[in-house]
């Protein structure tokens, strides 16, 4: 691996998947890259004034406008005929919810840039609140498990489908546990003469609660259960999936995380586990994950 373009000394939690994701993306993109980020764990942990972990030019404006700010950068790069990679790296909170308008506009206008969403499935920066990306039955501080509640009642928003609906030429899902795949997808996306979107599964030790150092194994389990299929779309066509040889039961994945532990303590939890298994099974069928 080349010298990292994200310096150590940043304030991310020990064992956080986000800096690993950034390092992999920047490794694939190289130093001739400008990065735009929304307000997020990423932004707060990497740029506490007067320090910055970024070794490439980087700009943060607000929570909901990364795509618009990046659009402004993109037109200037085009105007000056510069062949610089432009990458947005942002969390799911901004990508799925508050930044939707800005993202939609950018996708629709067809700006040349790669949007990487590191998806830890909640608003982690502000203390683990539910986002549009939070999966079914997850305990968050605003969808807590309680005597009247089994956690988040809504399914995860299908952001890749939204990107596809905008005719984004390259859309993929990736995982921090599959670094070769992620790097390949970043390189492919940067070749596109238009927008591209990659959604990276990035487990959050603080928000999901799991054993220290388990971050990569957990991300791998998400893929192996079928809950996080690794897919690749080019011009709207599904061109590749990562097959799963022997899909693992979702229970193995859920039991390893504190954010699902209420499902194993309550009597109606077992029914929810079945529903989550159904989501995994539906993915396996839809994407033909098993040969």
């Amino acid at each position: 691996m080349e010298k990292s373009l994200l310096a150590p000394g940043h304030r991310a939690c020990a064992g956080c998947a986000m800096p690993t994701t950034i390092r992999l993306v920047l490794d694939a993109a190289g130093p001739n890259t400008i990065v735009v980020s929304p307000t997020s764990c990423l932004e707060v942990t990497t740029t506490p004034f007067p320090e910055s972990a970024w070794c490439v030019p980087w700009i943060h404006s607000l929570f909901e406008n990364a795509a618009a700010v990046a659009s402004g950068v993109e037109v200037m790069l085009k105007r000056r005929h510069l062949d610089t990679n432009l990458v947005i790296i942002g969390g799911d909170g901004s990508t799925f919810d508050i930044g939707m308008g800005s993202n939609s506009g950018m996708f629709e206008r067809g700006h040349k840039m790669l949007y990487v969403c590191y998806d830890n499935e909640a608003y982690m920066n502000t203390g683990v609140q539910r986002s549009g990306s939070t999966p079914f039955c997850v305990h968050t501080t605003t969808t807590p498990a309680g005597t009247q509640s089994l956690g988040n009642p809504r399914p995860k928003k299908d952001m890749p489908a939204i990107a596809l609906a905008h005719r984004v030429p390259y859309v993929a899902t990736a995982s921090v546990a599959y670094p070769v795949d992620l790097r390949r997808k970043v390189k492919a996306a940067l070749q596109v003469n238009g927008p591209s979107y990659i959604q990276v599964n990035a487990p959050c030790i603080t928000g999901w609660t799991f054993e220290a150092g388990y971050m990569i194994e957990l991300a791998r389990l998400a893929v192996e259960t079928g809950l996080w299929p690794l897919t690749e779309y080019v011009n709207g066509e599904l061109v590749g999936v990562k097959k799963v040889r022997r899909p693992k039961p979702v229970e193995e994945y859920l039991k390893a995380q504190g954010r699902y532990k209420h499902l194993f303590k309550k009597t109606d939890g077992a029914d929810m586990v079945k529903q989550i298994q159904a989501i995994a099974d539906a993915n396996i069928a839809k994407f033909k994950l098993v040969d």
Binding site: M1, S4, P8, G9, G15, S52, G213, E217
Partner: protein, 85 residues
């Protein structure tokens, strides 16, 4: 420290903050078993494991002791040891 107009910050400057002070456990690498697959370097969130003179060594100035490297090493040659200070 000077505040410049618009708060522009120099790159890579978090190196000033030695996050090694955070850790409780420190990774110890059994260099005999190591097959130099570099997965520890790839997965480390701090980017502080590098190959130095052929050996993969964690940079203890920054290592937070998260133990991802120990978990992922395919040869299980990294052990997390309670650090005596």
């Amino acid at each position: 420290m000077e505040i410049k107009a618009g708060s522009l910050v120099d790159p890579c400057s978090t190196r000033k903050t030695l996050t090694g002070a955070w850790r409780t456990f420190v990774p110890v690498v059994d260099q005999e078993k190591c097959i130099k697959c570099s997965l520890c370097e790839i997965y480390c969130p701090e980017g502080c494991i590098h190959q130095e003179e052929g050996l993969f060594v964690p940079d203890l100035d920054y290592c937070k002791g998260c133990s991802v490297c120990a978990h992922e090493c395919p040869r299980m040659c990294i052990t997390m040891v309670l650090e005596e200070k």
